[in-house]
């Protein structure tokens, strides 16, 4: 028997290519005679454009074209609102190039196309724009007041959306409460900062009428649909390829960014390939950001620590536009009760326009904010009731026998009721306590304090709704010449190892090695049904679609092989790229079976001879392909989840704070997580570790420093502090595998899991470490040395 591949630590198929420098990212693809784009961007957060004079820029040697909003014809309209929702009264999306007003620093005002990027940037600097600066308000709460300056003249109070959801009877719960705790917490603005910035290249073939676009996007099929619509081309004439993509983390799921429309437009107009390769500064000034939310959360509890009600009101900063709808705020509001029973919930948010880069999902998508609010409140409740932090959580975690656990009245980002499907929450908490050495920690802490060292234990639990619909597909075909298996799905990959995990799923069904499964995605010419890579959904949605399809192909292989080998189908087993008669040496290679399943006229090789019309094996009654039969060993199928499946975990850390230097050192980090059955534990751990590192960035370092005038003061990797290896501690990951009953593979998503709880863990640990100085509170992340210094000073240290 072949070794089962599902669940094995299979090394990745894609690695040799990437390691040899043979990856093909957008800017690596040779496009002879390509022209290059640079944008002129607004230096003002709010201003009216009085005039634009591009005459000097147009005369600059090497410039092919300059476009302002006056020059882009039918593209000069607001770009699509991707996810409409009734809570938005007057949703704003931006135009490809600003017309009239500018709404944030970095907004695209003009596009230069030139022979190279150097020349294009020179010419952009020669464009004279006269601005009339307008007043602005950067503070979320003040922006909502009646006399606040407006981001959009026709949106009163800068209110982008207002939404309330209720589950159970929160008023009654608060009336019954024996204790109520209330805190206000804040998570600051951050950005995904993928190592490859965004990139778009386009080639228009005037002879065939075909537009080819290479786009480092998470959503190539959606981009294709949008481009066909905008340019009024048949879908078949637009090919969108997401080649190798250097990280995405949500930032690359938004469509459209201005360049995604303007680059194809320029390629069509100029008859030359055109490229836009975003630089790092532009990634900070022009590509989506996330995170700022201010939550005021109240927990209604009994004296036992049982939380019977929750009220949360939060402000969500949506930036200057809201193209992705309320997704981030909605995910935050529906994740607000975490893994706890809390049967009565009132959650309200206001999404606020600010004159900053638009906010769309970044890894976590509102979950880190909800987790930070809830877990900080749980710590405070524990303290006020005199309970241990583990104990109060233990008393509130949903028990295994309570699944599925519904939160009636809360609709998740897929529009469906929040229903936590499965898990071993209590066991995960116990494992975290054991791995952290929680029982002996108090003694360790006391000993360290006696030596003048300040250790604290940080703790947080999280849940993550994963695997959102609507659907994805899978196409599986056995190549007749090589016998290799060719697999497609409608996603694109940014480092998650799709080509390996999907190969593992197929390998088990068809008895081949994962190295003989070729997964092709991210190309609308290869497969063009599907949605995108987002919301930790690839393994769940595409994984199950591919699994279903592989089962169908398996059945076809077995039937064809039984026919060829003249035995009953139940006598056939698949292994080593062949179908074997059980308990014998008789076999037929998959290549031969695939060839024989495809009636041929021409014998192009030895195997093919057997499939030609006069061969003995081809004898049949009726036509070579029976009615309803398809040639070859191939199938396509789809998986559409009935609801999201909820992963969860518990994180904890031992943290040391130096009160003199106000520095934080993570001495030990523990992660217990459960994403259901793991297809490839090595890749799961990679996803979790990467998420934790981003979480540590968000907990301690990464903060977009917008000034009062709307300028971003740290738009570089020199000043926006992405952690290096020197900032990331060793992490101990322990797995639980509770299969979800919701899909055939029993899998849940894992892409975003790692980052969710880290901010809450770090703040919890720092508070615990500094307890000897008083009850210092840390209710904001990233938690900077300044905050520690201020808190210590306030406490008289």
């Amino acid at each position: 028997m072949s070794t089962r591949q599902f669940g094995a630590r299979v090394e990745r198929n894609i690695d040799p290519k990437l390691l040899r420098g043979e990856g093909a990212f957008v800017d690596d693809i040779p496009l002879p005679d390509a022209l290059h784009v640079a944008f002129l961007r607004s230096p003002h957060a709010r201003a009216r454009i009085v005039s634009i004079d591009a005459s000097a820029a147009k005369r600059h040697p090497g410039v092919a074209a300059i476009y302002t909003s006056d020059d882009i014809g039918t593209l000069d309209v607001e770009m699509p609102l991707l996810i409409p929702h009734p809570s938005m009264k007057n949703p704003k999306t931006q135009r490809p190039l600003a017309r009239g007003d500018v709404h944030y620093v970095g907004q695209t005002v003009a596009m230069v196309v030139a022979v190279d990027r150097y020349t294009a940037e020179d010419a952009a600097a020669l464009i004279e724009v006269e601005y009339e600066p307008l007043p602005l308000e950067m503070d979320l709460a003040k922006a909502l007041t009646d006399d606040a300056p407006l981001v959009h003249a026709d949106v009163p109070n800068n209110l982008a959306a207002h939404f309330i959801q209720t589950s159970g009877n929160p008023d009654d719960a608060f009336a019954r409460a024996e204790h109520v705790t209330k805190i206000t917490v804040q998570v600051d603005r951050s950005t995904a900062a993928p190592m490859e910035c965004r990139a778009v290249a386009a080639r228009w073939d005037a002879v065939s009428g075909e537009l080819t676009v290479w786009d480092g996007t998470q959503a190539p099929i959606s981009v294709r649909g949008g481009l066909a619509s905008v340019f009024e081309l048949d879908e078949d004439k637009v090919r969108v390829i997401a080649p190798d993509v250097g990280g995405g983390f949500g930032q690359k799921v938004l469509l459209f960014y201005p360049d995604e429309l303007l680059v194809p437009m320029a390629a069509m107009r100029l008859g030359r390939p055109v490229k836009y390769i975003e630089d790092r500064r532009e990634n900070f000034l022009g590509s989506s950001q996330e995170r700022t939310q201010i939550h005021t959360i109240e927990l209604a509890a009994l004296r036992t620590g049982e939380v019977i009600g929750l009220r949360d009101f939060f402000l969500h900063d949506t930036g200057a536009f809201i193209p992705y709808g309320i997704a981030v705020a909605q995910v935050a509001s529906t994740s607000i009760a975490g893994p706890y029973r809390i049967p009565n919930i009132f959650v309200e948010f206001k999404a606020v326009y600010t004159p900053t880069v638009q906010v769309t999902p970044y890894r976590g998508c509102g979950r880190p904010q909800a987790c930070f609010a809830l877990e900080r409140a749980m710590d405070q409740l524990a303290e006020e009731l005199g309970l241990d932090r583990f104990e109060i959580r233990r008393r509130n975690l949903i028990a295994e026998k309570e699944f599925p656990y519904e939160r009636e009245g809360l609709l998740f980002a897929d529009g469906l009721k929040v229903t936590l499907d499965s898990g071993q929450y209590g066991k995960a908490l116990a494992m975290a306590a054991a791995e952290l050495g929680a029982e002996s920690f108090a003694a360790e802490q006391a000993k360290a304090r006696a030596e003048g060292r300040y250790l604290g234990l940080g703790l947080a639990c999280y849940v993550e709704g994963t695997g959102l619909g609507p659907y994805e597909g899978g196409h599986v075909k056995i190549h007749p010449i090589t016998g290799k298996v060719y697999v497609n799905t409608g996603l694109s990959t940014q480092g998650q190892g799709h080509d390996t995990v999907f190969a593992q799923i197929v390998a088990d069904q068809l008895g081949v090695s994962p190295q003989d499964v070729i997964v092709v995605e991210g190309d609308t010419k290869a497969f063009d049904w599907g949605v995108a890579t987002f919301a930790s959904r690839a393994a769940v949605v595409s994984g199950n679609a591919i699994h279903k399809t592989a089962l169908t192909v398996r059945k076809k292989v077995i039937e064809a092989a039984a026919n060829m080998l003249d035995v009953d189908p139940d006598q056939i087993e698949l292994r080593d790229s062949a179908a074997w008669v059980k308990g014998s040496n008789r076999f037929a290679p998959l290549a031969a079976i695939a060839t024989a399943s495809n009636p041929l006229r021409y014998a192009f090789n030895k195997a093919a001879q057997a499939a030609t019309q006069f061969a003995r094996a081809s004898k049949h009654d009726g036509p070579p392909l029976a009615d309803g039969q398809a040639p070859g060993l191939e199938a396509t199928d789809y998986y559409s989840p009935s609801q999201s499946t909820w992963a969860y975990g518990v994180h904890g850390a031992i943290i040391e704070v130096d009160p003199g230097l106000c520095t934080v050192k993570i001495r030990k980090y523990v992660c217990i997580h459960d994403c259901g059955n793991m297809i490839n534990p090595m890749i799961v751990e990679g996803q979790v570790l990467g998420g934790i590192a981003q979480g540590i960035g968000g907990a301690l370092y990464e903060h977009l420093d917008y000034q009062a005038d709307g300028n971003l003061a740290n738009a570089s990797l020199m000043d926006f502090l992405v952690p290096y290896a020197t900032e990331i501690p060793n992490v101990s990951i322990l797995h639980l595998e509770t299969p979800t009953p919701l899909n055939p593979l029993g899998v849940k998503g894992v892409g975003e899991a790692g980052c969710i709880a880290v901010g809450a863990v770090v703040a919890s640990g720092v508070e615990d470490a500094l307890r000897p100085f008083g009850a210092l509170k840390f209710h904001q992340v990233p938690l900077s040395p300044n905050m520690i210094s201020y808190a210590l000073e306030t406490a008289g240290y």
């Binding site: 420098g21 190592m195 990280g247 990797l717 290896a725």
Partner: protein, 175 residues
């Protein structure tokens, strides 16, 4: 959308050019390039050696790391003309001609030390440079973190890269 051919599109900038000659991956190359062309652009777009990536163009991320006369350096902070006469090595030179991975590359694969692979060539070049230096390698947790402290990775969280450095040292008999 209508197809219209506008006035002739220029095919060159007005930049002054300069002749540069260097050895790249063992081959002598000479080109006439813009005086301000970055070495990273020279390698990527003049020589089509696109394995060297560009992540920030301000010398922080390390994606563009190549070896200049055997020492790791940022090709995004170096002008092509500054590299005149240098011996340059890029990621394309690291594996064997038949594609067999170098032990550092092999270690990355075994340890899942890469995800999207964008920072990887720069990481590998930096590590290869350090492994080629004589003397004992500091393979403690802190020592390896220090070795990697000039390269950003946004996907892996570094721990598997740290493991890969240790594994590479084993494979190269440097452990």
């Amino acid at each position: 959308m209508a197809r219209t051919m506008k006035a002739a599109i220029p095919d060159r900038s007005a930049d002054a050019e300069v002749d540069v000659s260097m050895t790249v991956n063992g081959e002598a190359v000479s080109r006439s390039v813009s005086v301000r062309m970055l070495l990273s652009d020279f390698l990527r777009h003049e020589l089509r050696l696109t394995g060297t990536h560009v992540g920030c163009e301000h010398g922080v991320c390390g994606c563009c790391t190549v070896l200049l006369n055997g020492r790791a350096g940022r090709s995004c902070l170096t002008l092509a003309v500054q590299a005149n006469g240098y011996d340059i090595r890029t990621i394309e030179s690291v594996a064997s001609a038949d594609g067999t991975l170098h032990p550092v590359q092999q270690a990355f694969k075994e340890c899942h030390g890469l995800q999207c692979g964008y920072c990887t060539p720069g990481m590998v070049m930096n590590i290869v440079a350090r492994f080629e230096e004589p003397g004992k390698l500091d393979l403690t947790d802190e020592g390896i973190r220090d070795l990697l402290s000039g390269n950003l990775c946004r996907c892996t969280g570094y721990l598997n890269i740290i493991a890969a450095v240790r594994r590479a040292a084993e494979l190269l008999g440097r452990a």
